[in-house]
Symmetry: C2
Subunit: 286 residues, 2 copies
């Protein structure tokens, strides 16, 4: 006869069940609150990004941005100054989530200001000067965050890319005529060292180029035992990808599915992952 013990167990179980169910409900309420908050933050952040698949001065820009959580430490912009100059940047703030997202909002503000103070007579030096200024302002806020950046200005008339950069990895990759090369240059991260100086670089863009920028989150999404092997793998894939979609499709094996309502299962992305591609001059009949 195990029925008395059985029903005692059963009572205990029922009680435990009720407790668990109640705890569940509280957790879900709390989670929903935080999730809604972060979603709202994510919406604001996405508003600050440029339009997808736009063409300015003969150069098309597209990008794909996937935060590890709801808020991203990766950020980018691509804006027309006039009929001749197009300005852009690609940033990866150290860490991810809310604290890093704060910095991306600063970047947007400072980029808006840069556009409004742009001096076309000094196009070559502007990216490096902007980075130096950004570095100072970020240090001044005391936010305690640093970022890697690539900043570029495309001159439609000369077809030159004037650029500067800080500690970017992987480096910007230029694909043209089936060949791929790393854009040269090195620089210090932004927001770490007072009076850091940034390189002034220029590269003449070939016809039918694609310029790829990837945040370091991509390193978690390609196979390879060492960093070097992964960078090579990224180069290989970039070279073989005619489009952003093509490159992204090959990365999906480690990417999360759409987050499910319960959450928890699909938080596979350990870092923000962003890819930006500029392509150009093909259809430019100027």
């Amino acid at each position: 006869m195990d029925s008395p013990k059985g029903s005692a167990d059963q009572e205990d179980l029922a009680q435990l069940n009720a407790q668990l169910a109640e705890l569940n409900e509280r957790l879900e309420t709390h989670l929903e609150l935080l999730r809604l908050d972060q979603q709202a933050g994510g919406q604001v952040q996405r508003k600050l990004l440029p339009a997808h698949r736009q063409t300015i001065n003969g150069v098309s820009c597209d990008y794909w941005l996937q935060p590890a959580l709801y808020l991203s430490g990766d950020f980018l912009d691509f804006q027309r100054f006039d009929d001749r100059f197009t300005l852009f940047y690609f940033a990866d703030v150290a860490g991810n989530g809310a604290s890093s997202a704060f910095v991306t909002v600063l970047l947007k503000l400072l980029f808006s200001r840069w556009l409004s103070e742009w001096d076309a007579t000094q196009a070559e030096s502007m990216p490096a000067r902007w980075l130096a200024q950004l570095n100072r302002e970020l240090l001044d806020t005391g936010i305690g965050k640093h970022a890697t950046l690539f900043v570029g200005v495309i001159d439609r008339r000369t077809r030159e890319l004037h650029y500067s950069l800080g500690a970017q990895l992987p480096k910007a990759l230029l694909v043209s005529e089936g060949a791929v090369l790393e854009l040269p240059g090195e620089g210090m991260p932004v927001g770490l060292f007072v009076d850091a100086e940034y390189p002034r670089l220029t590269y003449r863009l070939p016809p039918n180029f694609r310029l790829w920028l990837c945040s370091d989150g991509i390193l978690d999404c390609v196979p390879g035992a060492t960093l070097d092997l992964r960078l090579k793998e990224i180069e290989r894939r970039v070279q073989a990808s005619p489009s952003l979609k093509g490159l992204c499709a090959g990365l999906t094996y480690k990417l999360p599915q759409e987050m499910d309502a319960e959450g928890g299962e699909n938080w596979e992305l350990s870092d923000d992952l962003t890819i930006m591609v500029l392509s150009g001059f093909t259809d430019d009949h100027e």
Copy 2:
């Protein structure tokens, strides 16, 4: 004989229990992830606040800031320009949480810049000019958020407060010699209207004054059937409070306890709540 049915129920219960326990674990993991993220964001945000209980140019500043969640839409600063001028602001960004916190980071940056571009020869007009500039910059970022602000400059030599404001509620309250008065002035919120203009106001500070600034979250923490009654109640309490601590103590009846590990229970604060008090010239033997 209910034993067969009983043990079937028991099996079901045990299975349900296991499922609930597993779901709980997933919810907790997910919640922990979001919570850590927001906490990190909150830490960065607190780093941007001025030191507590500091005295600059004969004026002491203290404040109490309690976000509804981890990130605050309320924000303030209090900084020395030189031996004569002290600059401060008190802001309440519409909404709360991550999206509003983004704006507070912009405010910090723009205030740092304001300090560095400060023009002492135009002290009276600087607060209004800063608000107008802030308004433009906030609109330019496209962040889609607005804020109410009080901006002040205290001139130690003349003992004047030059200030400007946008849609602040409750208004700044000045207590001196046992009397309390609302500082006069009205202005439009920041980040809503292009080309909004802000008032240029000056008030000569009495000896032994206390200037109180409260975010509208305080309206949820005092009794009163109407807005007017609550504002009167706040005036009454401010008048009777010799210190920040004294005022805060009287508000606790609706404030959350420290958030517990499980969360959910203590989320009572529906809006961020911030109180800032400046007091001065008592010990100024200049």
